[in-house]
C-alpha cells in the first residue's frame, strides 16, 4: 500500500511537470500565432503550419486548445497534492484522453493536409501521449488501492 502511494505521488509529479512543459510550449507557439511572428523551429514546418487555415478551429488557434488542456492538467495535478478525491484523477484521465485524440487528429492533419510538421507540435504530441500513459497508470494504481 505504502509503495503504491509513493508511486502514485511520483506519477502525479511527472504529470505535473509534463503539463507545465506543455503549457510553456503552448504559450510560446500561441504568442507567435497572435503576434504573427515567426516561430523558432528546427525545420521549416512551423511557419507553414502557422500560416495554414487548418491551424485554426472555429477561428481559435490550435495552440490555444493546448494551453487550456495543459493548464487544466496542471491545476488538477496540483489539487491532487491537497485532496485524495478520485474524481480529480478521473478528470485528469478524461482530459488526457481528449488530449491524445486532439494531438493525433492534428498530427494527421499536419502530415496529410498541411503537408508540413511543426517541431513544437510534434514535441507536444509526444508529451500528451506520455501524460495519457501516466494518467492511465496512475488511475489503475488508485483503482487497485481503493477496490483491491
Amino acid at each position: 500500500m505504502g509503495n503504491e502511494v509513493e508511486t502514485s505521488r511520483k506519477l502525479n509529479r511527472i504529470i505535473f511537470i509534463l503539463s507545465i512543459f506543455g503549457l510553456i510550449l503552448a504559450i510560446y507557439v500561441l504568442q507567435s500565432f497572435l503576434r504573427q511572428s515567426s516561430i523558432v523551429c528546427l525545420n521549416s514546418g512551423c511557419e507553414t503550419v502557422r500560416k495554414s487555415s487548418f491551424s485554426y478551429i472555429f477561428g481559435i488557434p490550435v495552440p490555444a486548445f493546448g494551453l487550456v488542456g495543459y493548464a487544466m492538467l496542471a491545476i488538477l495535478t496540483f489539487l491532487r497534492t491537497t485532496s485524495k478525491d478520485i474524481r480529480l484523477l478521473q478528470w485528469i484521465r478524461r482530459i488526457a484522453i481528449f488530449g491524445v485524440i486532439f494531438v493525433s487528429w492534428f498530427t494527421f492533419t499536419e502530415i496529410f493536409v498541411i503537408k508540413a510538421v511543426c517541431t513544437w507540435c510534434a514535441v507536444s504530441t509526444v508529451n500528451m501521449f506520455a501524460i495519457f500513459y501516466l494518467s492511465l497508470k496512475s488511475y489503475n494504481i488508485e483503482n487497485y488501492a481503493t477496490h483491491g
Binding site: 505521488r9 509529479r13 505535473f16 507545465i20 515567426s38 523558432v40 495535478t77 496540483f78 497534492t81 491537497t82
Partner: protein, 206 residues
C-alpha cells in the same frame, strides 16, 4: 486548504518555472542597441546605392568566408533592386582562421585608393576559393590598376590599421561571425538567406 509537503513541492516547481521563464524573457527581449549611422558608415567605408537614402544596410564580411560568398549575389541583387532607397556599406571583418582574408581586404582597399574598390570586391568574391598572392596580382591587372602604385600601397601596410578599426568596431558591437548585417543600425538575426531581402523590403516599406 491544507498545505502538505507535496503541495509545497509543487509550489516550488511553479516558482522555479516562473523564474526560469522570467529570466529567459528578460534576456531575449532586451532590445538590440541601435548603432549610429555615422559610426557604422564612416568616411572610410565603401558604399553602394544612394548616399542620401534613409535606409542603410551594413555588412561585416570576410572575402575568404564561404558563407559571405554565398550571400554576395543576394546582396548585389538587393543593392541593385533598391539602389535609390538604400545605402549599402561593406566593412572588413577578416577572420583569423582564413589565411588570405586580411590580405584580400588590403587588396580591395588598395584598389579603392585607385577608385576601383567595387571592381576588386567583385573579383575577390568570384575567386575566393583560389586565393593566393598571384590571384591578387592578376586581379589588379585585370581591373586595370596602376600596378606600381598598387604594390607600393600593399607593401607599406597602410591599410592594416583601417582594417583593424573595422574589426575592433565590429567586435565591440556584437559581430562574432561573418557575414553580419546591420539594417538601419540594428543587427539582423537571419534564420535563412531570404530573410535578408524580407527585412530590407520591410524597412523600406515595400
Amino acid at each position: 486548504m491544507q498545505l502538505t509537503g507535496e503541495t509545497k513541492f509543487f509550489i516550488g516547481l511553479i516558482i522555479a518555472t516562473f523564474l526560469i521563464i522570467g529570466i529567459g524573457v528578460a534576456v531575449y527581449s532586451r532590445p538590440e542597441p541601435v548603432l549610429k549611422r555615422e559610426e557604422l558608415i564612416t568616411f572610410a567605408s565603401h558604399t553602394r546605392g544612394n548616399i542620401e537614402a534613409q535606409n542603410y544596410l551594413v555588412e561585416f564580411s570576410d572575402y575568404q568566408c564561404p558563407a559571405c560568398g554565398t550571400f554576395k549575389p543576394l546582396v548585389d541583387q538587393i543593392v541593385e533592386k533598391y539602389k535609390d532607397k538604400l545605402l549599402f556599406a561593406y566593412r572588413n571583418f577578416p577572420l583569423a582562421q582564413h589565411e588570405f582574408a586580411e590580405k584580400a581586404a588590403e587588396t580591395a582597399e588598395a584598389a579603392g585608393e585607385q577608385g576601383k574598390y567595387w571592381e576588386m570586391h567583385d573579383y575577390l568574391f568570384a575567386n575566393q576559393a583560389n586565393f593566393s598572392d598571384e590571384v591578387f596580382q592578376e586581379g589588379a591587372k585585370k581591373i586595370g590598376l596602376d600596378m606600381d602604385k598598387f604594390n607600393e600601397s600593399l607593401k607599406s601596410g597602410k591599410f592594416k590599421s583601417l582594417i583593424q578599426d573595422d574589426i575592433s568596431y565590429g567586435t565591440t558591437h556584437g559581430v562574432n561571425s561573418t557575414p553580419t548585417f546591420f539594417l538601419n543600425g540594428k543587427k539582423l538575426s537571419l534564420f535563412n538567406q531570404s530573410d535578408l531581402e524580407t527585412e530590407v523590403a520591410k524597412a523600406i516599406g515595400e
